[in-house]
Symmetry: C2
Subunit: 354 residues, 2 copies
């Protein structure tokens, strides 16, 4: 490998996207600002650093919480004003001082929203381009797919006889979660918010039933009708009143995997709702939250399994790919309008593999 | 055994206590009515039935839910108007047509609030008087003690390094739950509602700390101060705002055993509260309801273990014993005024063992 040449286009303007203001409610264009910045030079590269070029940027609802004001975030996830936003991204190595990463290697990690940047090798992982398309390293084979996998199998503990309900079922996590339940032989009902999504769930992903909550007056009754034997496992991406409707249908020993709560990410304080404790006692039911990194020891096996299902056609996966670095903010804002089918991604650059 | 003699006192008036009206909120004296009824005669005894005399009657907060109107109770637990209330009771066999039960045997089961009654042998179990005082068959060695045992060990899954908080810690379930956690080496904080109870928790039961929630302005802060390393397991008997205060202190991988919700038993509909989902995700925490009968296969072992702890002095147990059959209603109502320390019981008759 020739680690001396720099493939950055000297003519290209490097850019970053920073947090311009803490949003109140749903983020807007004013939440973000694009700055022109200097291109990193090879002289800037310290030991065990690589210079990378952004290829695919993932935007995820959970990032919304990191945009709030305050320092009460022990994990250090919160974005700082006038500093670049970070998110899971796929990039290409342009220059490396580390022998384990070569020029042109495809890597992923939590990178700044910058066209070019230098990162420590401690913060990057190689992408295996043979498993699946490289963009899936931060989608189907990344946090969303792994959240679906471990949430359904480890928290939901699905059995073939279970009736499983997935909310946000057309989304990046929900679509994988629902298909894993289908592969394991469960009866699967998916909830989503548009006729296109329902069509996707029923006719592309092969779920038993899709319910359009926006066109349903009484979700509790709709779930009862779709799940005449009750709900054994609820994979919750959404929260709010949808949760209540499904809890009312939960079976004895039911399990509720709390994966995400997109209905609440833009709220200033925890929303009020009926307390679920009585139902949990009456049904000996369980609700459990998790973050995917609890299972990091098993990531490699999970990725291989998901890729195997994908390559054999058992799992279908869509990315809603938006092109252009400067479209990252609008792609993120679009997450909260509920229009996307599949994983919202931004293609920020062309790799040598394309 | 001489099964032919009848030890019922022919002069004694048999009585029953029936549901006179569905309570709204906290039950009152008008919820109940005492009726004089005929004494069962030996001729009334069918095959595999026994005639029993009530000795001890347990009154429990969870019975409140069975007093509501409505037939939506698949388990058939709801009390019917003008029919006797039932609850876990200890009784003495007066006459038997079944060879496994002899006259003078002490038995327990869910019996009607009647001084004398006939019951099928399918609905009774023998009490071993050698394990502990016979009244404990429906208290420390009955549902309350078993709920504490399985809730703490199977749902809470306590480890010696855990900080454990128990609400309703001076009550029949909470006092056992807290002591089991103490025996297992946990740091244990108990919550109760009077100085007498706090004294009981700290000086009789040997908990690390008791918190009087009625004299505490900010329970969340009080829990933080009492549990500087956070809360690993919360054994919840109470629900409501106390739950919120403890949830705010829950540790990563925290477990919340939802045993009872006495704060809510008298509410007409599920109370509103802040939704716990965000915290559950953030902390990878779990809340789980259960009923003790899920573990009935393991009851015998659990009873032996609790009795062993009791007889070796590791578990202390108080019964708040009220005398007289006609005092059962007031003993039940007293559960909701929060004054009792230990298990509320009514002594309805004298056995030959006394």
């Amino acid at each position: 490998m020739d680690n001396t040449h720099i493939t950055t286009d000297k003519e290209e303007q490097n850019q970053e996207i920073v947090l311009a203001g803490h949003p109140s409610g749903v983020p807007t264009a004013d939440t973000f600002r694009i700055n022109n910045i200097d291109m990193p030079t090879s002289e800037m590269l310290k030991d065990n650093e690589v210079l990378i070029k952004s290829l695919y940027v993932s935007v995820d609802p959970g990032m919304r919480g990191f945009m709030d004001k305050g320092d009460d975030d022990a994990a250090g996830n919160k974005y700082k004003l006038n500093q670049p936003i970070t998110s899971r991204s796929v990039a290409q190595v342009i220059k490396s001082t580390d022998k384990t990463f070569a020029v042109d290697d495809i890597v992923h990690g939590r990178f700044a929203w910058q066209k070019y940047q230098t990162v420590s090798v401690d913060n990057i992982e190689k992408v295996d381009p043979n498993l699946a398309p490289i963009s899936t390293a931060v989608s189907m084979l990344g946090v969303p797919g792994l959240a679906a996998y471990f949430g359904m199998l480890k928290i939901g503990q699905i059995k073939a006889t279970d009736t499983v309900v997935v909310s946000g079922a057309a989304g990046s996590v929900g679509s994988i979660a629902a298909q894993i339940a289908r592969i394991k032989g469960c009866k699967v009902v998916g909830i989503a918010g548009s006729p296109e999504k329902i069509n996707y769930l029923e006719n592309e992903l092969g779920l038993d039933k899709g319910i359009n909550y926006k066109q349903t007056n009484n979700m509790q009754v709709a779930i009862t009708e779709a799940c005449p034997n009750g709900v054994d496992v609820f994979f919750d991406n959404v929260g709010g009143e949808l949760f209540d409707a499904i809890l009312a249908n939960i079976n004895e020993y039911g399990r509720i995997a709390i994966c995400g709560q997109i209905a609440e990410y833009n709220e200033d304080r925890p929303p009020q709702g009926p307390r679920p404790m009585h139902t949990l006692i009456k049904k000996s039911a369980r609700m459990e939250g998790y973050v995917v990194f609890n299972f990091s020891d098993e990531f490699d096996d999970a990725k291989k399994q998901i890729a195997e299902w994908y390559n054999s056609g058992q799992i279908k996966y869509r990315e809603n790919l938006i092109k252009g670095f400067d479209n990252i903010p609008s792609a993120f804002i679009g997450l909260f309008t509920g229009e996307n089918i599949g994983k919202q991604m931004v293609k920020t650059g062309d790799s040598n593999d394309d």
